[in-house]
Amino acid sequence: MSRTPGDLTSARVRWGSQTLAIARREWASLFASPMAYIVLFVFVLVQGATFRFHTILFDGDMDLVTASTFGGATFWLLWLLVPPLVTMRSFAEERRTGTFELLVTTGVGDGPQILGKWLAAWGFLALLWGSVLPLFLLAELHGSLDWGIVASALVGVLLSNALLVSIGIFSSTLSQNQLVAAVVAFSLNLTIFLANQLRALFPPSAIESRFFEYISIPYHFARDFCLGVVDLRTLVLYLGLALALGFAAGKVLERRRWA
């Protein structure tokens, strides 16, 4: 029997509402424990200290302060470490405690689960990185800054975090152990990060160098986002890989039905 357009619409609505329900549940569980606030506190403290330090170090040059806030050592450390910590529990924990099977029996599909968890984790990371905005507002009170550069740097952070969340969720589907999931995600993040270093192994005009330039996120930040430029290519790269990893995560979850 073929599906009518009405069936398809209601299926889509159900899919969307399931996704939002999962996202809300994940978001609420994040903030139910003090852990989210502790992470936010440490994050704001570290960012506040480095922001103030950079403002004094660069003699108030806000272009350089913005570039350091979204491209300095502290930034890359947080960028590498925080997403695996946020996503490691998404599927690994559910599978370990058995709530995953419970969720499946209620008729929630793999797609809404992955997308819902992705939205919750990405939303939390957006909140974390968005917490630096008051620091820039404070700077604006004492002078003026180019908000276009701040906006493009934030867009870069949000886009790259979209990819990192997908990596984290994919890693979380691979194991029931949170720590393993976090280590796998961190390793994959590190690989992407180190692609930038591999560029130096080849002459700048070599095709290998251009390939590593293309996939190197630190290079994208240095060349584009931290300067106030948003490139369509990075958008396609990050979102394309994020979608592919989300699809792969779905296939890993689907494996339980036939393996």
């Binding site: 704001v44 403002t55 806000m62 620091l135 276009g148 700048p204 396609v236 394309g240 792969a248």
Partner: protein
């Protein structure tokens, strides 16, 4: 009833593998498309990485492969920090060039202190001898751009500051010089008290214009038409700047000089005339058949813009079609000009810049409109392009835009756009240089203490308080 057999695990695995490969292929194709169709948004307040459409077009049509090497060696002084910033900007601009045309390739960027071996190899291979330059190579030809071409440092009480930078302009000009088969030749006439390109005096000299034209790859020369000089063959544009700040006042061109200019025009040469404030230029018999004449008196609007003297005026009426003013029309609202007289324009000439209607012809230099002084609008800049084979003529109703004091801002862009049109490359290079756009947040000791309190205590503390509040409320429930 037949029961469909369940697919085997191997078959499912194969299906999953095919699906994953398909997704990977789609991602690859999307990225391959995006790689070739770069779409970049410049969100900076002053659009500092946005290349002018003409520069993009010029880069797309680059006839040769260009390789670029940028060796740098910077110290820790304030000036070196500024230099490092300018070279960083240059490298970023070159990468923007490369995105437009991959054959304009940044081949090497290196700090010679960190990599002396590579520097030695580059010196040997390419014959380059000094760092802190942008070297451009196209086949066996080469050009270089130094810091002085890219920016200017000005001393201030707080130490050296970046006064002006013109990175995209200098790099575009170098590229054009490199790939252009023949550099355009521009000849300034002299002998009648004309403003001279060899006059490098501050404010009243032509140093800034000469630098701009040289950056555009133009070869400058001059000829004394009064004392038997001629216009050599191969000259593309003749400039007659009919005014003087020197000891000798300008005198109208004589019969011989006029004859020489007429011959040049008839042979297809292009002419730029910058008229004196009043009196004759000696070129009336050449300009009138082209539809361009002059009126006496200085155009005035009562504005103090453009130098503040009599005749200073803000202009907002441009010819939207003509190459000289088309780009300006799309980018700026007004151009400040100083001390212009009025032109009369009839076909085949066309007025490129016209004064506002409320302007009047100031004849008694009182700076107040009298009833007998005619009201505008008045043409201030006009162009005429004759039939096939005859040259282009551009007339400014003032000679002042060429001197350093007034060769600035949009007036400078207008004049340079005129040169681009006359040399028949309608503006591949972006316009005037910019002042340093960087913003600073300067903190006094009190502000530093406030920042310390807000960033390290108040803000993180507020988050912890919210967390404790939410958590205790949940526990209470």
């Amino acid at each position: 009833m037949s029961v469909r057999p369940l697919p085997s695990r191997a078959r499912i695995r194969l299906h999953v593998l095919i699906q994953l490969l398909l997704v990977a292929w789609i991602v690859w194709v999307a990225n391959a498309w995006a790689f070739r169709n770069s779409w970049r948004l410049d969100w900076t307040a002053d659009a500092r990485y946005e290349l002018a459409p003409e520069t993009r077009e010029f880069l797309r049509q680059l006839p040769k492969r260009v390789d670029i090497i940028v060796p740098t060696s910077m110290g820790r002084s304030a000036e070196d920090r500024i230099r490092a910033r300018v070279f960083d900007r240059a490298i970023r601009t070159l990468r923007e060039f490369e995105l437009v045309n991959p054959y304009c390739r940044v081949a090497e960027v290196l700090d010679i202190g960190r990599d002396p071996v590579r520097w030695g190899r580059l010196r040997e291979e390419h014959g380059i001898d000094a760092p802190n330059r942008v070297y451009l190579f196209a086949g066996d030809r080469r050009e270089w751009v130094g810091f002085e071409d890219l920016a200017e440092i000005a001393p201030t009480i707080d130490g050296p500051t970046l006064a002006r930078e013109r990175v995209p302009e200098a790099l575009s000009a170098a590229l054009e010089r490199l790939v252009r088969e023949e550099a355009p030749r521009v000849l300034f006439t002299r002998g009648h008290g004309e403003a001279s390109p060899s006059d490098e005096r501050a404010q009243v000299g032509l140093g800034a214009l000469v630098r701009d034209l040289t950056e555009r790859g133009i070869v400058l020369e001059s000829s004394d038409l009064r004392r038997g000089g001629s216009i050599p063959e191969g000259v593309d544009v003749v400039v007659i700047a009919a005014g003087s700040t020197g000891p000798d006042p300008f005198e109208p061109l004589g019969l011989e000089a006029r004859g020489e200019v007429e011959r040049f025009l008839a042979a297809g040469g292009d002419l730029l005339v910058l008229l004196p404030f009043d009196g004759e230029s000696g070129l009336e018999s050449i300009l009138e058949p082209l539809g361009i004449g002059t009126r006496s008196g200085l155009v005035h609007t009562g504005s103090t813009a453009g130098g503040g003297g009599i005749g200073a005026l803000e202009v907002d009426l441009f010819d939207e079609e003509h190459p000289v003013t088309r780009r300006l029309r799309s980018e700026v609202d007004t151009v400040e000009l100083a001390s212009f007289r009025a032109l009369t324009v009839a076909p085949p000439a066309r007025a490129l810049v016209t004064s506002p209607a409320e302007a009047w012809l100031e004849r008694d230099l009182a700076g107040v409109h009298d009833p007998e002084e005619p009201l505008g609008p008045f043409p201030l800049v006009a162009a005429s392009e004759g039939e096939e084979g005859s040259g282009r003529v551009l007339v400014f109703a003032s000679w002042t835009p060429v001197i350093d004091a007034l060769h600035r801002g949009q007036s400078r862009r207008l004049l340079l756009a005129g040169f681009d049109w006359l040399t028949e490359r309608d503006g591949p290079v972006a316009g005037a240089g910019r002042v340093d756009p960087r913003e600073r947040v300067l903190l006094d000791p009190a502000a530093r203490r406030l920042w310390l309190l807000l960033t390290l205590v108040a803000y993180p503390g507020a988050i912890i308080l919210i967390g404790v509040g939410v958590w205790s409320r949940r526990r209470a429930h």
